[in-house]
């Protein structure tokens, strides 16, 4: 079941989420297999907490990993991954279904690794969804800034 706040954001932009059976797209690999696209086309959203107690979200290609030194260079502070409980509290989404839609007060960084794909698939708040969209649409919806934080 897609959360209301995500649904309204997607409806505003005329996007439709693909829905599968529950728990079928918890990781980028499984989602890619389910949708039938390359792992890199799955946009994974990762919540980080800085030493300055600010939460930041990074959206990057499914086959890339976050580089902690690049994040530090970009923001000026060291970041750590948040726990499942903390992620749920801050975003309202469970790990496996975190998405950059409908999250307020969190700075969003979009990695340039997603730029090379025509169509990318971020989640829609659950671990059984994917929203087909273009890189430009993702930028417009989230208001995130493009950066290079992957390795």
């Amino acid at each position: 079941m897609i959360p209301e706040k995500v649904k309204s954001v997607l409806e505003n932009y005329g996007l439709m989420a693909l829905e599968f059976e529950e728990g079928s797209t918890p990781t980028a690999e499984k989602a890619a297999e389910k949708i039938g696209v390359a792992v890199g086309q799955i946009a994974k959203s990762i919540l980080l907490k800085g030493k300055d107690d600010k939460y930041r979200m990074v959206v990057l290609a499914g086959d890339k990993k976050i580089s902690s030194s690049k994040i530090k260079k970009l923001t000026g502070v060291k970041h750590s991954m948040t726990s499942a409980e903390e992620t749920r509290r801050v975003t309202g989404f469970s790990p496996g279904g975190v998405c950059p839609f409908g999250v307020d007060n969190i700075e969003i960084f979009i990695d340039q690794s997603l730029e090379e794909y025509d169509k990318i698939y971020p989640a829609a708040g659950t671990d059984a969804t994917g929203v087909p969209m273009t890189f430009e649409q993702l930028l417009a919806i989230t208001g995130g800034s493009v950066c290079d934080v992957s390795s």
Binding site: L48, K65, I66, S67, S68, S69, K70, I71, K78, H79, S80, M81, T82, S83, S151
Partner: protein, 125 residues
């Protein structure tokens, strides 16, 4: 919310307690405690060196590997240390912990913190 100055004091006290905890553990917890702590610190340092984000799954894989490698090396208990690491960190870290414990044991098998070991006598393994 508390007063900023109070919270700063609280943070200072907490970090002091945190430091004290490690000192007490390192000095009074025999062999296992310090070995495990130093191993985990080595694992964490390696993960940090390799640019792995703090508290990610990969980070804990390195920490669990350090944990079991040092325990296996110092006490010559490769199987037990891998099992302890799995118990502490979870089954998903069994592979890094197991491999690291074998490597740690192989590197240090002729030296142990105990007086007698299977690796030091004649006809040893």
């Amino acid at each position: 919310m508390s007063h900023p100055e109070q919270s700063l004091q609280g943070r200072y006290k907490r970090s002091l307690l945190y430091l004290l905890k490690w000192v007490v553990l390192a000095v009074f917890s025999g062999i296992t405690g310090p070995a495990v702590i130093v191993g985990m610190l080595f694992g964490a340092a390696a993960a940090d060196f390799l640019d792995i984000p703090l508290f990610s799954a990969d980070y804990f894989a390195f920490v669990s590997a350090g944990f079991s490698a040092l325990l296996a090396g110092t006490m010559n208990i490769p199987l037990a240390s891998a099992i302890i690491a799995v118990e502490s960190f979870g089954l998903q870290y069994g592979f890094p912990a197991g491999v690291a414990s074998i490597i740690g044991f192989q590197i240090n098998r002729f030296h142990t913190v105990y007086e007698y070991s299977i690796g030091t006598g004649s006809g040893s393994l």
